[in-house]
Symmetry: C2
Subunit: 413 residues, 2 copies
């Protein structure tokens, strides 16, 4: 099979660019990968996918690779779509689901994007990679870069969770902590040193293929629901690639005629009020989002003060009839514990912000009790080790263990 | 479908016990779950499995549940089987594979066992759960217990990795750190307080169903290799449930006549010389393993001084023509980094011990260069945050970033 890709298209002005060589951005803004959907429709049926191995590569006709592309894979994709009955009841929802991206390589949704982007970079002969990261992207590039045999440089704020730092160094990435810096500062360092260092910049939406990897979240969701989309998607939004990618996936599926109904989900972008540039722009009715000053949130993946794909996020939200909504920063940690202990699913703080967003939208009447609602859990809570300490009780072996310890320490329900 | 389970069988003396009620051990030793394999053979074909969703529940005829059992699931199973060409080359192996169990819920293979054991405990109406843990088992019971709506108590050594502690508390488990204790001390506390506290003891092999969950590693491996087993399986061995479970799976598949060849893999048990009771018993030709004094290893999952299923592990190793071998403790951390940075796969220290074991067996000629060898990566390295710190380089924004930083700090290859 050759690729069905026809060209790349500038998201800001529609300019066409050839896809057979390395591309980055156009006028500083992202590129869409475009496909010959008529040819795909003739050659594939959605039922073909279900007989293929359970990875995101099952959707290969809708991906930028061709038969002679070496796939750089860690087995990513087909994450579980779990019914969350108990948490749904607490929220007042009867049809509430969690798509658990924590079960991907490196424990986060970032693996989808980097599997695709690293596969394409490797295909084009690139061997030195760099990325700024708020946390999980660095670990994913480190892992896929190692899998490709490339050299990887990662730049992250110095207060990025320890697990994110460690996963980079363990995978052999050259890992830099930017003191008092945010991901935007890290991005600037990568950009300014690109010529000197000769590395390829894998920043969010600065190359066209991470988006195509993230798109597979939407393809999987459609397949898992029998090619019928839910009413509402709750998505934690930092750089927003996943939201943009899913919206692209749904548009492609609709044009292919593979959806049982043309009804599109309302896309809800969840942020924290400690860093809510998309929410602010949405509320002001603007297409571009100003940089957020003094961004601060425990949900490190949401600590993105300025998104290069802001207009793509805001376009998708508005076209879908969704919205952007900010959770109260001080409620996120509690919502995360509540969600994990209610369902056993390893909800990250970014997704906990979306649980709070859902509460607000339900209270407002913007989500109805019978709506089919899907929350994306974008990463494993295990990667945020600072959230749970000092709750463990010590037992000393040289003292007899008194069962009362268990009764008095914890008040039983 | 009703269950194909016929009875439980004592592993130590063959006594039959009924499977329709809660069972624990017999004479202090584990129980096998036995099935009507003739009936299964008549009603199922191995090709049936490939059309079912990619979770371990696709093997339902070979599992203890029936149609009226509520499945307590977080979407576990069908972990990737990844070719590890580059690490294979370093080892001198041409057909080397890694089965990556780090992509399960809670980031470890423990989820297989607890998905099954919690499903059965819930089926029998149990609602208060306890387990001792060396690390990952606690996190898995906490998650599946939360998913079942049960109350969970976890006991772990006080120096268990922080991520393991946090994942328990986040999932709402009552989490106790036993100061200067090992998993055996934790196990004693759970056992001694069982009557008083009324909790069900999920200790390794103290109930019959964790083993059936772990068995699915063997079933998946067989399916992924087209119902033909590899030559060698490298398995890090603490309590050994996975090794025992896989050997049981292979025996069942052989009796069902589903394997293309009767050739069984050689089962290799990897330990650390800081805690190697199985290796010592293997070398002495004994069927039972004495407790290991002053167990100490950075591979916390291997820090199991006494395994209740010791004779089951040693029987499997010997029947298979395999062996038990201890890695040098001081080499494990380095082998882990080497493996992760070579393949991008998130190899845990326990599995790194098995990489070292493989080196030794290759050097001895016990593994041939063309053998098909499978290493089980039993958990995510992200859960061992202590392994990678102090390698990150700080950059200060108020000082100009000099590209020499990148050149001098890291010597490029």
């Amino acid at each position: 099979m050759n690729t069905y890709v026809t060209h790349l298209e500038s998201a800001i002005d529609g300019t066409h660019l050839p896809a057979d060589r390395v591309q980055t951005v156009h006028e500083g803004r992202p590129l869409w990968v475009r496909y010959d959907l008529d040819a795909i429709r003739k050659n594939v049926n959605p039922t073909d996918f279900q007989n293929r191995p359970p990875t995101l590569w099952r959707y290969r006709e809708l991906l930028p690779t061709s038969d002679n592309t070496e796939i750089i894979s860690l087995g990513e994709g087909m994450t579980p779509l779990l019914k969350a009955r108990r948490l749904g009841e607490k929220l007042g929802l009867r049809d509430f689901w969690i798509k658990d991206e924590s079960q991907l390589p490196t424990g986060s949704f970032k693996s989808r994007g980097f599997a695709m982007a690293v596969t394409m970079a490797n295909h084009f002969g690139l061997t030195r990679f760099a990325t700024p990261t708020a946390g999980n992207a660095g670990g994913a590039l480190a892992a896929y870069g190692a899998r490709a045999g490339a050299e990887v440089y990662v730049f992250m704020p110095s207060d990025t969770p320890l697990v994110n730092q460690v996963e980079c160094t363990l995978a052999g990435a050259k890992t830099f902590l930017v003191v008092d810096g945010l991901i935007s500062d890290c991005g600037r360092i990568v950009r300014e040193l690109s010529d000197e260092m000769g590395w390829f910049d894998f920043s969010t939406l600065k190359e066209p293929y991470r988006l195509e990897g993230k798109k597979t979240m939407g393809l999987e969701l459609a397949e898992q629901f029998g090619w019928e989309l839910p009413d509402v998607i709750l998505y934690p939004t930092g750089g927003g690639t996943g939201l943009i990618g899913m919206w692209k996936a749904f548009a492609e599926l609709r044009e292919l005629g593979w959806l049982k109904s043309d009804k599109m989900p309302r896309m809800v972008s969840g942020q924290s009020d400690g860093c809510a540039p998309i929410v602010r722009a949405y509320e002001k009715g603007e297409r571009f989002a100003d940089e957020w000053d003094e961004a601060a949130t425990c949900a490190t993946g949401l600590r993105v003060p300025k998104a290069v794909g802001d207009f793509m996020i805001l376009d998708a939200i508005r076209e879908s009839g969704g919205c952007a909504i900010a959770a109260c920063e001080s409620d996120i940690a509690g919502a995360m514990r509540e969600a994990i202990s209610t369902e056993g699913i390893s909800i990250c703080p970014e997704s906990a912000a979306c649980v709070l967003a859902a509460q607000e939208l339900i209270a407002r009447g913007d989500i109805a009790p019978d709506d089919r609602v899907v929350l994306f859990n974008t990463g494993a809570s295990q990667k945020y080790a600072g959230f749970g300490d000092q709750e463990q009780i010590s037992i000393h072996l040289n003292k007899p263990v008194d069962p009362k310890t268990f009764r008095t320490t914890y008040s039983h329900n």
